[in-house]
């Protein structure tokens, strides 16, 4: 039925992009079926089921049928200081990691893109940590941060600076985790930036050079503006990933000291699995989900407005 439409050779391009954009096929649903079965079971259904759970007092330990408690869980969540503390911690972590993960990744990509000798080594050095599991990252850094026997305090000691209990002091713990996280995931953004830099045609720089722009000038008036899109993308991916932080915090500090590093996802885990209150934990998930949705919508509107201007 589709082949018949290509009657005039001259119109192939046009039909290919308009009328032939998609092929009518009754089999189409079959192609998407496997994905949507998995999608429904493991993404959509937990979302729907979680919503129902959030209105009940479902208890991990008690086998009895959960009772519907209406909005009680939501009322509790909105007034639970720990929800707001952990949400604040999560935002703090997001800010503390997103900025260095953009700035340092960009700096590293710009330096490597200069074509200095040793390309293989540089790429390896920046990308290797990204290949590690969170558990390994945590073990590495717990050892480095060890107050008495760790590398950092030993190095500081050489310069006569008194070390700190980095992961055990509420003033430093979140920053210490942010440093470890930056080290861990820098490589991915670095590669995205490097790829974007290599996609900039040399002719653009040549044109700028003819106009008399120096190296620094080229960086600010040519390179950085061209990286705007990739930076927006990295920012969005980064914020979404950081808001979900769990692994390295659970492993390095378990939310301590004094809840200064407890993230919202950890609080969901603690409430549901350690405190048995699955219903309440689901309600916290939904409050968090609502906040992320609102942030995403705001960000979309903001992006749209700045596109128009």
């Amino acid at each position: 039925m589709t082949s018949a439409t290509i009657s005039k050779p001259g119109s192939v391009r046009k039909t290919a992009t308009t009328r032939l954009k998609v092929t009518r096929s009754r089999g189409g649903l079959l192609y998407v079926l496997p994905f949507f079965v998995a999608f429904t079971l493991f993404l959509l259904w937990p979302l729907v089921y979680g919503l129902w759970m959030s209105f009940t007092d479902r208890d991990l330990a008690a086998g009895a049928e959960p009772r519907v408690v209406g909005l009680a869980n939501y009322a509790e969540a909105l007034t639970d200081p720990m929800v707001w503390t952990t949400f604040g911690n999560t935002v703090l972590f997001t800010v503390m990691t997103t900025i260095p993960l953009v700035v340092l990744a960009l700096a590293a990509a710009l330096l490597v893109n200069m074509g200095l000798p040793g390309q293989w080594v540089w790429r390896m050095a920046f990308f290797l940590p990204y290949l590690l599991a969170s558990t390994v990252v945590s073990l590495f850094w717990e050892w480095i941060y060890n107050p008495e026997l760790g590398l950092i305090n030993a190095v500081l000691g050489v310069f006569g600076i008194e070390g700190q209990a980095w992961l055990q002091n509420p003033d430093f713990a979140m920053a210490a985790i942010a440093v470890a996280t930056t080290w861990w995931t820098l490589g991915f953004n670095f590669l995205l930036y490097l790829a974007a830099l290599q996609n900039i045609p040399a002719t653009v720089y040549e044109a700028a050079a003819i106009d008399g722009a120096g190296k620094w000038r080229q960086l600010f008036s040519v390179t950085l503006p061209l990286l705007r899109n990739i930076t927006m993308l990295i920012l969005v991916l980064q914020v979404l990933a950081s808001l979900k932080v769990f692994d390295q915090i659970y492993q390095m500090t378990a939310g301590g000291p004094d809840d200064s590093t407890r993230s919202i996802l950890m609080y969901v885990y603690d409430t549901g699995f350690t405190g048995y209150r699955l219903g309440y934990a689901s309600a916290i998930s939904y409050v968090f989900f609502a906040i992320i949705l609102i942030l995403s919508l705001l960000q979309l509107r903001f992006a749209r407005r700045s596109d128009q201007s």
Partner: protein
């Protein structure tokens, strides 16, 4: 336009220092892992251990530890997740790119919208669902929830969109069906993006912690990251042992990276993974 010699020298120094900082945690871990526990715990900290370097800790880990079991589990799980994700995502991406069917717009909209849903925040209902399905503590329970990757479907669809339709027309004239076109024409042309999707799915599944951690209680089923965190072999002083375990857990992917470095970097560069 070349930068001055001095400028390049400064850049080189900065880059070298930056790289050294990035590599330092590895080097320190490897160094510690070859010490005895007593030397690892020596205060003040020394670089070269007083008692000399030793292989003992590694030998013990291989003799007693569960590390080989977890490594096999990690390979199994990561390979299955990658394979299933690739199959279902390429099929769906192809259908969204080339076929029209009832509900196409709705389903595509759902897929794109769900990219923004951080699935991990629904671990509590997902776990409860797994309890009901009797899938807690099974390989399928670890694998299946990880194969849903709307972002990969979207990336693949975008790539398929960019393949010129003209290539398929000849086949269509010959009477090839959509499945044949998919297998014979579209897939072979998509090798780079498929490689990129496969690599990132594999790395993601290999390193995934939260879900496998929640759904496995039996140490024989645990993957490396979960086993290392959950099962402990020592009780007191295990500084060197922890580093040896970490180094062993890190090694497989690092070796893979050293072999496929070019492909991985090119995969990102040519396909703009993430929809650049």
């Amino acid at each position: 336009m070349r930068t001055s010699y001095a400028g390049r020298a400064v850049a080189f120094t900065v880059l070298a220092l930056f790289s050294l900082l990035m590599l330092a945690p590895f080097l320190w871990a490897v160094n510690t892992s070859f010490k005895t526990e007593a030397d690892a715990g020596a205060n003040p900290v020394t670089i070269v251990p007083a008692g000399g370097y030793t292989w003992d800790i590694y030998a013990n880990l291989f003799r007693l530890g569960s590390i080989p079991t977890w490594m096999v589990n990690s390979v199994l799980v990561a390979a299955a997740v990658t394979l299933i994700t690739l199959v279902i995502s390429t099929l769906a991406g192809y259908a969204f790119s080339r076929l029209d069917f009832t509900g196409r717009r709705t389903l595509l909209g759902l897929t794109v919208a769900s990219i923004m849903i951080p699935g991990t925040i629904f671990i509590v209902p997902l776990f409860d669902e797994m309890l009901a399905f009797n899938m807690v503590d099974t390989y399928w329970g670890i694998i299946l929830p990880q194969v849903v990757a709307p972002v990969m479907v979207f990336i693949l669809k975008r790539f398929f969109d960019s393949i010129p339709r003209e290539l398929e027309e000849a086949a269509r004239v010959d009477g090839a069906g959509s499945l044949r076109i998919f297998l014979r024409i579209v897939l072979p042309l998509s090798r780079p993006i498929i490689a990129a999707v496969a690599i990132f799915t594999f790395v993601g599944a290999w390193n995934n912690f939260l879900w496998p951690f929640i759904v496995t209680n039996d140490p024989d089923l645990m993957t490396l990251p979960v086993g290392l965190e959950t099962v402990s072999t020592g009780f007191g002083v295990v500084f060197a042992e922890n580093m040896a375990k970490s180094v062993l857990a890190a090694l497989p992917l690092i070796v893979v990276f050293l072999f496929f470095q070019r492909q991985i970097i090119k995969g990102i560069a040519t396909t703009g993974l993430g929809g650049q």
